[in-house]
């Protein structure tokens, strides 16, 4: 009965359409849109969000189909063939070095990244490009902040994509094992960070910190970035000149102090008395070596972080001066806090050996695991566990005896292990946050800490092609999405609404003005109407004269 009614309505509408078409000249229906997503199995929240978004878009008269794609296929379609898709679910994850807003501010929307880089949506805006370049040269934080606000406002205006949420990650630890106030929260990252691992204090006989990961560790190689989890470990084994502090700002680490001499010169002083895990002292030559090593072609993944260095000059026993090619505010974060310090006496022969061969340091069969970091490598079984011992000679030696990471692929088992004490630190949780909350209620020893992520989830629009090349259309599609519904119905309240590529946790850089996004169907419809789009028979039509050149794939 209902179907019949709809059919009749559609028929009448079609009749109506015919007449209006005659009256106003030919217009074209907006073609069916494919909204790509990960499959539910891979990312349930994101998939759920896609379903909800599709429902809301349909209210604008659009024909939307959610198409889940496996990772490989999605990468192939979205990342490698950039002009073949309409819109897709996407996410940016938080990493400590992303605490400096540069990476998101610059890479996501700068036109130079549209071909190959992160600007896969193809957003081209000269005004934005100029600001993105400008903020990199602004050594004055306040000035840079203004630029960052301006950039966020441009993005808010243009809506090249629809931000959905900044997820909140719930992590946990066993407070019967560890002293609760020795756990450090790093803003935008949460409690699973190197500061916690160095500070956390065991209460009783259990002196090991046992953390889980649901991904395999690919590599523990100071010259190769394999996966997210890999960096947790390289962080602990190898020191860096600077580290991102709990506040998200880079702070001196292996360097005692770091000073800007001028726009293009930085001077550092190495901490005295540091030792490698093999007992050798850490010298300034090791530091120089560590920054020279990626410059060649044996560590392609780290090369970009040292390309800005014009020269390095040794100043006395522990001093070092970096001369840069360009002014670069991000050098501290992107280079000094990124490059792992590696012992020259061990790596020099290794790299020499590789010279002239096609292999890079990434493919070393046995990576020398000698660093100067707070933990040293004992044992590594890639699919089972990795075991690190505390390095007592470190200047900030950890309180726990051992740091053990267990590879547990599924969330269900992870909770079981947490309950049974097989792990005592929940470093990653892919499951349902609500279950975790309930779990901690039943197990009072488990303390949950949650933190809003630096990263965010969004719907990417392909700005290169119609209808997404129209700001009004993008705005309408973004505004019709109810962010609160996203938070509650897809992320189960473990997220906050987003409308910026700078997370509110980076409170200094985040522009609060953009938070006031007025959403709603009425709002969206109005925008479309103003731009000349028409709703007829429940379907959306382009403004007069605008022609569709693409077909749905």
């Amino acid at each position: 009965m209902k179907k019949l009614a709809i059919a009749v309505a559609a028929g009448l509408a079609a009749l109506g359409l015919a007449t209006t078409t005659l009256a106003q000249g030919p217009t074209e229906k907006v073609r069916k849109l494919n909204l790509y997503s990960w499959p539910q199995a891979a990312l349930p929240q994101s998939y759920q969000a896609a379903q909800l978004i599709a429902q809301q878009w349909r209210q604008l008269g659009l024909d939307v189909e959610v198409k889940p794609l496996q990772r490989q296929a999605q990468t192939q379609l979205i990342w490698f063939s950039r002009d073949k898709w309409d819109t897709t679910m996407w996410r940016m994850v938080g990493r400590p070095e992303r605490s400096d807003p540069d990476e998101f501010l610059y890479s996501l929307y700068h036109s130079s990244y549209a071909e190959k880089g992160y600007n896969f949506i193809g957003y081209l805006n000269k005004e934005y490009d100029a600001l993105a370049e400008k903020q990199r040269t602004q050594l004055d934080r306040e000035e840079r902040r203004k630029t960052a606000f301006a950039m966020q406002e441009i993005i808010n205006r243009d809506q090249p994509q629809a931000f959905l949420v900044h997820p909140k990650y719930a992590l946990a630890f066993n407070k019967a094992v560890f002293k609760e106030d020795t756990v450090v929260n790093q803003s935008g990252i949460g409690i699973r960070n190197i500061w916690t691992f160095m500070n956390i204090q065991p209460l009783g006989a259990q002196k090991d910190l046992i953390i889980n990961s649901n991904e395999t560790i690919n590599a523990t190689n100071p010259l190769y970035i394999g996966g997210a989890v890999d960096s947790w470990i390289t962080d602990l084994i190898w020191d860096r000149l600077m580290r991102i502090g709990p506040d998200g700002m880079p702070q001196p680490w292996a360097a005692e102090k770091v000073d800007w001499i001028d726009d293009k010169t930085i001077e550092i002083k190495l901490r005295a008395g540091m030792k490698w895990h093999d007992g050798q002292p850490v010298t300034i030559d090791d530091v120089i070596f560590s920054f020279e090593a990626p410059a060649g072609d044996k560590a392609p993944m780290y090369k970009p972080f040292v390309t800005d260095i014009a020269a390095m000059e040794k100043i006395g026993e522990l001093g070092l001066r970096f001369r840069l090619k360009n002014v670069n505010t991000t050098f501290l974060t992107a280079s000094l806090a990124k490059i792992n310090l590696i012992p020259k006496h061990i790596w020099e022969p290794v790299l020499k050996d590789l010279a002239g061969k096609p292999e890079t340091a990434e493919q070393l069969k046995s990576v020398p695991h000698v660093g100067s970091g707070p933990f040293k490598m004992v044992r590594w079984k890639p699919t089972e566990e990795i075991l690190l011992d505390r390095f007592g000679d470190h200047f900030q030696a950890p309180k726990v005896e051992r740091w053990i990471m267990r590879i547990v692929p599924n969330a269900e088992a992870t909770l079981g292990m947490l309950k049974r004490g097989e792990i005592n630190f929940l470093g990653m949780f892919g499951g349902d946050a609500e279950v975790l909350v309930k779990f901690s209620k039943e197990n009072p020893d488990i303390a949950i800490k949650s933190e809003v992520d630096i990263g965010f989830e969004y719907v990417a629009f392909n700005n290169r092609r119609a209808p997404f090349n129209d700001v009004a259309f993008r705005r309408a599609l973004s505004l019709v999405i109810d962010r609160r519904l996203m938070v509650s119905a897809a992320w189960q309240d473990y997220a906050i609404p987003a409308n910026s590529h700078v997370s509110p946790v980076l409170s200094f850089w985040h522009d609060p003005k953009v938070d006031q996004l007025k959403t709603g169907v009425a709002e969206a419809r109005k925008i479309l109407q103003d731009a000349g789009y028409r709703l007829s028979g429940g379907k959306l039509y382009y403004p007069v004269g605008k022609r569709e050149t693409l077909t749905t794939e």
């Binding site: 499959p39 539910q40 199995a41 349930p44 779990f439 189960q492």
Partner: protein, 296 residues
């Protein structure tokens, strides 16, 4: 040909039809099939709500993790889907996967087995070497690799299952053909001038048909379990709701921790029922048609 087939089939069909009455196992198995077939046919009536529809409560909140109630007999998932609707609609995809795999497996297996067994010689060796090869592919890993890389459509799963399962039926049917071929009445048919194809299809094939049914019934079960396993591992077709998908969903959404038994127990039981139905039927047929066929 047609005239001959008319008179040949009734006896086979009669035997197949009368079998359940003689074998209680087969009767139970067949009844399970019939019930699931009815559920699949009437899915839209039994569960008018689309299985992937996101449900909201009257207050506009997501209807997530609701306990079983009159509206939602098995409750809802953590993402607000009706579990009952998923279970009912899952029957469709289970039967679709199972039946299409069964049809492909048993028809390919039967034809290959008949041809290899009856004609022998080089054709036989060739077909059996191919069968050996397919049998030396590890089953589930192959399906995973195929669906993992080619995409996890239902048709790919059926393809993978069919690629690996036909040799089993082909081999057994071949050996059965070899024995039937030696039967005197087959020789008698040759003496009376019957062509090879006539002998194959009129005299040999009807003896093989029950075996094809046995393998079809087994293939139904295998295909459904395989689909479930693949879905469970996260390589499933996320656009169609199947029992395997439900289990995967339940497992990754921690229905176990939440104690949502109504979510993960019913699909498991449905899988067991439909697979065991195949076993029952195949067992029944084996007992009736070839008591000595079991084992190697």
């Amino acid at each position: 040909m047609a005239g001959v087939a008319e008179t040949a089939t009734p006896t086979v069909l009669q035997r197949i039809a009368s079998m359940p009455l003689r074998d209680p196992f087969a009767f139970v198995g067949l009844s399970i099939y019939v019930i699931f077939a009815l559920i699949a046919l009437l899915a839209d009536v039994l569960a008018p709500m689309p299985p992937l529809e996101i449900l909201f409560t009257s207050t506009g909140k997501l209807a997530a993790n609701l306990p079983p109630s009159l509206d939602y007999p098995f409750g809802t998932t953590n993402l607000g889907r009706d579990i009952y609707a998923q279970l009912i609609h899952g029957t469709r995809s289970a039967l679709a996967v199972g039946l299409s795999a069964a049809i492909v497996v048993s028809s390919v297996g039967t034809v290959v087995g008949l041809v290899a067994g009856y004609f022998g010689g080089r054709i036989d060796s060739l077909l059996m070497r191919i069968a050996d090869m397919a049998l030396s592919l590890p089953f589930l890993p192959f399906v995973i690799v195929l669906t993992g890389f080619l995409g996890a459509s239902t048709s790919n799963i059926v393809l993978a299952v069919a690629l690996l399962l036909w040799p089993n039926s082909a081999r057994v049917i071949r050996s059965q053909v070899l024995t039937v071929r030696e039967r005197t009445y087959v020789e008698a048919a040759r003496v009376t001038g019957a062509s090879s194809w006539r002998i194959l299809f009129v005299h040999v094939a009807p003896n093989i048909l029950p075996l094809s049914f046995v393998y079809a019934a087994i293939a139904i079960g295998w295909a459904i379990i395989t689909e479930a396993s693949v879905s469970f591992l996260g390589f499933g077709d996320s656009e169609s709701v199947s029992w395997g998908y439900m289990l995967q969903d339940a497992f990754s959404s921690q229905a176990l921790s939440r104690g949502q038994y109504a979510w993960f127990v019913p699909p498991g039981i449905c899988i067991i029922l439909i697979v065991v139905a195949g076993f029952f039927i195949s067992r029944g047929y084996e007992e009736v048609f070839m008591p000595r066929l079991r084992g190697r």
